[in-house]
């Protein structure tokens, strides 16, 4: 079933060349009388099959909003003001699907391989798309279970809706298999959500997300209530499944250490925009954006000698009234003239164009038009140190 013709993945694990999801210039506002909150602004990225995209960033920078937007789950007053979310299932997946679905999911428009704009799906298409192709684990996962249905019923529900060909027994078998994956004993399938601890509920939600082995799974801080052991087990399981089923994951977390272990690609968001995007190794090795740099040096380490943790001085911007130019400039140690006037767009961080190099950054420091040479990492370090000392 797997077609490995373009296995050019960065980590060599599972990423194929197929672009599953192409987010283009997506913007989301929360409309309010006091002024619109620009929670997501002009976000573009591509997600490839098998890729784990880690999304980190400031708290309140729009990560959850982005996740909801991708799943077409925004509720008023949130409104997508611009952009496209193009989804291309790809031939292999499509073929596999039709055999499973018996063609039920056939595209109404007949454009079987043309990318679909998720934001423009008809209700019927949307229903078929959801969970089959994209599943999501909410940030408030603990509160996202129907209190009056058993965990089992809520898993079976998905199977019944999307896999009508399965028999009842098969559905239950599948459900048992799923909860076992996340470390819940199958006999808990008959439990109601309130009978489970917060962590267990979070795991149940993850199990639901895995039910149909979708192409894309969005996980919004799925493990905040879990201890690291359980977290580790679940993530191991997800990695295993990813290798097997080659789905892509958008993983939102503040746990940078985790992200650095887990993700293939990392995007850093600040004030509604992606400010840096690159392969995990690139980011771990050399964060380019001053904000990313600050972030990656703001968490304590567990092992080895204690080290100094930096912080990012200053306050996050007001999303109703984002500063002109680069929204980070008021806090940036390296801000220079254009930063407060010109909006930096994502661009390759380095001039060399190797197939391995993905790293993109939205910073004028890396724009030859403004800065002759990109700053070295020591410079960033010094800059922060200086800022902190002020």
């Amino acid at each position: 079933m797997m077609d490995s013709r373009e296995t050019t993945g960065i980590t060599g694990t599972a990423i194929t060349g197929d672009i599953l999801l192409n987010v283009r210039h997506l913007s989301v506002d929360y409309q309010a009388d006091a002024g619109d909150v620009h929670a997501v602004t002009d976000v573009s990225f591509a997600l490839r099959r098998g890729e784990i995209l880690g999304l980190a960033g400031e708290s309140g920078s729009g990560k959850s909003t982005l996740a909801y937007a991708l799943a077409r789950l925004l509720r008023p007053p949130a409104v997508v003001t611009a952009g496209q979310v193009l989804y291309s299932p790809g031939v292999e997946r499509q073929a596999a699907r039709t055999s499973v679905h018996g063609g039920r999911r056939g595209r109404a428009d007949g454009l079987d391989n043309a990318p679909l704009d998720i934001l423009r799906l008809t209700p019927a298409q949307l229903r078929a798309f959801r969970w089959n192709d994209l599943a999501i684990v909410f940030q408030s996962a603990m509160n996202a279970l129907n209190p009056v249905m058993t965990i089992g019923a809520q898993i079976v529900d998905v199977l019944a809706a999307h896999r009508p060909e399965l028999s009842r027994g098969q559905r239950y078998d599948r459900a048992a298999e799923l909860v076992r994956l996340v470390g819940i004993a199958p006999d808990r399938l008959i439990s109601y959500p309130h009978e489970l601890s917060g962590g267990m509920r979070q795991r149940a939600t993850i199990a639901i997300a895995l039910a149909l082995s979708p192409d894309i799974i969005i996980m919004d801080e799925p493990t905040t209530a879990l201890d690291v052991v359980v977290q580790h087990e679940i993530l191991t399981e997800i990695l295993r499944l990813r290798a097997e089923l080659r789905f892509a994951v958008i993983f939102i977390t503040h746990d940078l250490s985790l992200l650095l272990e887990l993700a293939d690609t990392i995007a850093i968001m600040y004030a509604g925009r992606i400010v840096e995007y690159g392969a995990r190794r690139e980011l771990a090795g050399q964060p380019r954006h001053p904000y990313s740099y600050g972030l990656l040096h703001s968490f304590p380490n567990l092992r080895g000698p204690r080290r100094t943790v930096l912080g990012i001085p200053g306050a996050p911007p007001d999303l109703r009234d984002v500063p002109p130019g680069c929204s980070f400039h008021p806090r940036c140690p390296f801000a220079f003239a254009p930063c407060s006037t010109t909006l930096p767009l994502l661009r390759p961080a380095t001039t060399q164009t190797s197939a391995e190099e993905h790293q993109q950054v939205a910073c004028h420091l890396y724009d030859p038009a403004f800065a002759p040479a990109p700053p070295a990492e020591e410079l960033l370090a010094a800059g922060y140190a200086a800022l902190v000392r002020e």
Partner: protein, 338 residues
């Protein structure tokens, strides 16, 4: 991440720490702005704006506000414009509508239009007043019962159940025999027999609400019981309360009118229910005197539906999560251009 940047530990003296309770100077303008925003006048203006916003929330609420507003105006100012003594018997029996009698006359030769206008005050006033009383009782009983549980709940539930079970009509008949036959008696009977339902709903809500984490959190921050009930739980039930206030008011409007209709009203006064009673006992409809029978019935229905339509705005007003800016979707220009 191999190389750990080593920045020399800065020497910050504890003295430079923010004093715990002092306002950072940067925030002074904010405070001033907020205080200005919160001055009484501004608050009132904001309230008025909110009211207007609420009233124009959607077509239903607008229609509802218009209807209710109209009847309120009639109730307040209507009697000033009454051209005739509404109770004056004349020999103009059962006249169809004419210039002299806009809505004709009844069997007593009384002017139906004048009665309709004058009756508005009583009908509307008693409905609102009784609605308030009913809400007062059901909120208190429901919240207290649901919050405390245990013995308190058992006792209050008992009372509630008893009142749910006692039928209103027998009580009304007994009451008008025992007490004086006034609208107050009727209203009290209606109030007494209608609070229990609301209390039950609120009790159930409160019961599930009191276990919510935010209530626990408020308790942990030192709020006393009264505030937990009425400031933490109650606002979350506001949409139920408001909706049930409206339905209760309608029920009361209909209940009072119904009892009056059945002949338990105070015939010295004028209200729509009493007009209907007259029209019913006078078989107005069968005498083809529609102008006598129809208008009070329509007025009750109109006022009731006006109130009911308000209900369709309450969700949005009471639940901050449902408040939605009324502006239409706009694609953000700059993003679209990119």
């Amino acid at each position: 991440m191999s190389q750990v940047p080593s920045v020399p530990a800065p020497q910050t003296s504890p003295a430079s720490l923010e004093p715990r309770d002092q306002l950072p100077p940067a925030l002074v303008p904010d405070v001033q702005a907020i205080m200005r925003r919160d001055s009484w006048g501004a608050t009132l203006a904001a309230l008025a704006r909110a009211l207007w916003r609420a009233m124009t929330l959607n077509r239903k609420v607008t229609a509802g506000s218009a209807i209710v507003g109209f009847f309120v105006l009639v109730a307040i100012f209507g009697p000033l414009f009454a051209r005739q003594d509404p109770l004056k018997f004349t020999r103009d029996l059962l006249q169809p509508p004419s210039a002299a009698h806009w809505l004709g006359t009844n069997q007593g030769g009384q002017d139906v239009f004048t009665q309709l206008v004058i009756g508005t005050r009583s009908s509307l006033g008693w409905a609102l007043l009784t609605g308030l009383i009913v809400m007062g009782i059901s909120i208190t009983v429901g919240l207290v019962s649901g919050f405390f549980g245990g013995i308190v709940d058992d006792a209050l539930s008992l009372v509630t159940n008893v009142f749910i079970v006692i039928p209103g009509l027998p009580l009304a008949i007994i009451a008008v025999q025992y007490f004086s036959r006034t609208t107050l008696t009727v209203a009290l009977v209606v109030a007494l027999t209608s609070w229990a339902w609301g209390a039950r709903v609120l009790r159930a809500q409160t019961f599930s609400m009191r276990a919510r984490e935010f209530v626990t959190a408020a308790r942990a921050s030192g709020e006393h019981t009264g505030r937990l009930i009425f400031a933490e739980i109650f606002p979350n039930e506001l949409s139920i309360v408001a909706a049930s206030f409206i339905t209760t008011t309608i029920q009361v409007l209909l209940g009072v009118a119904g009892l009056e209709f059945l002949g338990f009203g105070d015939t010295n006064s004028i209200s729509w229910g009493l007009m209907l009673n007259g029209a019913y006992t006078g078989s107005a409809l069968f005498q083809a005197a529609w102008w006598w029978f129809v208008p009070p019935g329509i007025c009750i229905a109109l006022l009731g539906s006006g109130l009911a339509l308000l209900n369709f705005g309450i969700d949005e007003i009471a639940d901050p999560r449902l408040r939605v800016s009324r502006r239409r979707r706009v694609r953000r220009g700059k993003a679209a251009a990119a």
